[in-house]
């Protein structure tokens, strides 16, 4: 181990200093801190392994069809909870497509809307907002980021969902799909919109930070060429900040994927795959994303078959989170090309 000449130098200070200034303490501190970091690392590794091991029976039993469609997912979960296999199937029979489809729908739509809105908001915040407005908007965004998801869920289920149920969904529409699914106002659209509001703040703050740090000389160069402010933002600032916007999107996707509480309150809570062929009704059909499914079936963790399935869902989420963090890392590599420290 290389010794720092500064620390190796004899200390001839007052007595008080000598008491704690020895090289041995230094080594001990380094080892302790390092051990703590490694312990955390080990715990996270253990989490990956344990969840995958617990999930394995469900995956091995269903093979790749685990991810595919097939049958009513609610009856599959109920069969496991009651430990009574569906006729002709193993007890672990599970086809997660409705859940995956629900997750994709809510996450992708929320992230896409949030991408547009947050980019505009970030431009507003860094370029157009008068200082007074900016002073309001800053804490507003932090407030929106801090509101617990259960409060979003509460407002959604007590205010937004009944409103949509009463004013937007006609009885005829309810009757048209009544034999398959109940429409209640807690649906794909409500869930995605509230999810959008939830992931907006983090996207706005990252994008705004990136826009604010675009070198002024680059923008001034563009302005000096007679390009107007908006086009300068569009062509120079946004393009420079693109990696950050990608990183923000990745982070927001991770948030949206993992949101369980608000979605279990607000997405209808039924494992149903909304059908695009239903036209407008599609937006009012209930879903239940993966994370919400874990939350709602948590009491069944003592039943082995259901537990394996729940851990399998957890493993899918865990691996998606790991993939996303990898994608974020890849996006960050782009900064380095521009000589920017990320």
């Amino acid at each position: 181990m290389d010794r720092d000449p500064l620390t190796a130098a004899p200390s001839r200070g007052p007595r008080r200093i000598r008491r704690w200034a020895t090289g041995r303490t230094d080594q001990r501190v380094e080892r302790t801190l390092g051990a703590l970091a490694v312990a955390t690392l080990a715990l996270i590794g253990a989490m990956l392994v344990t969840v995958l091991v617990k999930a394995w029976p469900s995956f091995s039993n269903n093979g790749l069809s685990w991810f595919g469609p097939g049958g009513d997912i609610e009856s599959q979960l109920r069969a496991m909870a009651e430990s009574k296999a569906l006729p002709g199937h193993s007890i672990l029979y599970f086809r997660a497509w409705p859940l995956i489809w629900g997750t994709l729908l809510t996450t992708v739509s929320a992230v896409l809307i949030a991408l547009v809105v947050s980019t505009l908001a970030a431009i507003f915040l860094t370029e157009f907002a008068p200082p007074a407005v900016r002073r309001i908007l800053d804490p507003v965004i932090r407030l929106l980021a801090g509101v617990p998801s259960v409060i979003y869920g509460l407002i959604g289920i007590l205010v937004i969902a009944p409103y949509i149920d009463n004013h937007w969904i006609s009885n005829a529409r309810k009757a048209s799909v009544g034999y398959v699914v109940q429409l209640s106002g807690a649906d794909v659209m409500t869930a995605s919109l509230v999810l959008t509001v939830m992931i907006l703040p983090i996207m706005v703050s990252i994008s705004a930070g990136a826009l604010a740090s675009v070198p002024a000389s680059w923008r001034e160069g563009s302005l000096a060429l007679g390009v107007n402010r908006w086009r300068t933002i569009w062509r120079v600032s946004l393009r420079t900040a693109r990696p950050a916007i990608v990183a923000a999107t990745v982070l927001a996707t991770a948030r949206a994927l993992g949101e369980a509480v608000m979605l279990s309150m607000l997405s209808g809570g039924r494992g149903f795959a909304p059908n695009l062929l239903d036209g407008l009704t599609f937006f009012f059909e209930p879903v239940r994303p993966l994370a919400a499914t874990i939350l709602q079936n948590a009491e069944g963790l003592t039943i082995p078959a259901l537990a394996h399935t729940i851990y399998a869902i957890g493993a899918v989420l865990l691996i998606s989170a790991a993939m996303l963090s990898l994608a974020g890392w890849a996006a960050k590599q782009q900064f380095k090309r521009y000589g920017v420290r990320a």
């Binding site: 500064l6 801190l33 409060i151 869920g153 509460l154 107007n228 509480v261 420290r341």
Partner: protein, 344 residues
């Protein structure tokens, strides 16, 4: 909207000062639409926030009674008789204290190691990416992982063991420990960032006085970044207080805080209970309770706590001031370190 009002003339003689508002009259239509969309989005965000706060304020004031703070929840269908939320409030406090008590020291230690020692470097990189990963792992997944860990017989002393010897795994200890994982990345991020921003001359001056690295860290560096550590902790606290999924799964969701054993404090920690978030969840139409008035009242209290924490963070970070010149970097400390930009 007429274009005349969009284009106030800049005050004469102020060539350098920015005009009060953008002059957009000369812009092509598409650009002007973009400009106004920006304004619309900005105002829309303010309106959403205002809507949430006002709505919760109105509901909170109309349903909140002082007695709710001192009454335990009761198992009654009628809302007027179902008691208050004393136990959930205390539960929130306990979970927050346990979580932060674990997360803050661990987080600061890891951040210090990552930023001041980081030897061997491959290990440091692995730790870094692991911490970044837990920041992205859904809290439900953390919770179901914890349920595997805390039901192990040798951890029975942390929760309740039933007559058959099965460990329940659900307790304030367990919930607090999982919550620590939620707060850890935030503490690590803000500590690390603060340490990275300290000028090297601080360290050099300390070394020149013959101090070792560990002494420098303890006596010079950590005291210098105390506000940043505090704000990271406050952010972690906000995250802990706001989480529902972990509570639902790992705290047992009993109506009142049930102790296990006889030792005063330890029994509560080993026992099950609920927090404000889970109280709101179970009392909303989504849970079984179905007393929305109680849910509103509790949500109002929760929002006040979160707002107060927000205020503390703003205060600690100097009103989102830019000591390092980055306009918004310091204001938004909720973002993991590595995702934040530090364009130099």
């Amino acid at each position: 909207m007429s274009t005349a009002e969009l284009a106030p003339r800049p005050p004469s003689g102020s060539a350098i000062a920015r005009p009060p508002r953008e002059r957009t009259s000369s812009w092509p239509l598409a650009d002007r639409i973009g400009y106004w969309l920006c304004w619309a989005v900005g105002i829309g965000l303010c309106l959403i926030a205002l809507g949430i706060v006002l709505f919760m304020l109105v509901k909170g004031i109309s349903y909140l009674r002082p007695s709710m703070f001192v009454e335990s929840p009761a198992d009654e269908i009628k809302q007027s008789r179902s008691g208050g939320f004393l136990d959930p409030l205390v539960g929130t406090l306990i979970v927050a204290v346990v979580g932060i008590a674990i997360a803050a020291p661990t987080g600061v230690a890891i951040a210090t190691w990552l930023s001041e020692y980081r030897r061997p470097s491959w290990l440091a990189r692995a730790v870094e990416s692991a911490i970044e990963m837990i920041a992205g792992v859904p809290s439900v997944v953390l919770a179901i992982f914890a349920l595997i860990i805390f039901v192990q017989p040798f951890l029975g002393f942390l929760s309740d063991t039933d007559a058959g010897g099965a460990v329940s795994g659900k307790s304030f200890f367990a919930a607090g420990a999982v919550m620590a994982a939620l707060a850890l990345p935030l503490v690590v991020a803000s500590t690390r960032e603060a340490l990275a921003q300290l000028p090297d001359r601080l360290r050099e001056a300390s070394y020149a006085l013959g101090r070792t690295r560990s002494t420098t860290i303890r006596r010079v560096l950590l005291p210098a970044i105390r506000p940043e550590i505090a704000s990271g902790t406050a952010l972690g606290l906000g995250r802990i207080i706001g989480d529902t999924a972990i509570i639902t799964l790992v705290l047992g969701l009993t109506l009142t805080n049930e102790g296990v054993g006889h030792v005063p404090v330890i029994s509560t920690l080993r026992g099950t209970g609920s927090t404000l978030t889970s109280y709101i969840y179970t009392n909303s139409p989504a849970g079984e309770g179905g007393s929305p008035q109680k849910a509103y009242a509790a949500a109002f209290v929760l929002l006040l706590i979160v707002l107060a924490l927000n205020g503390i963070v703003t205060m600690l970070t100097g009103g989102g001031g830019d000591r390092d010149g980055g306009l918004l970097n310091r204001a938004f400390r909720l973002i993991p370190y590595s995702s934040r930009l530090n364009w130099r």
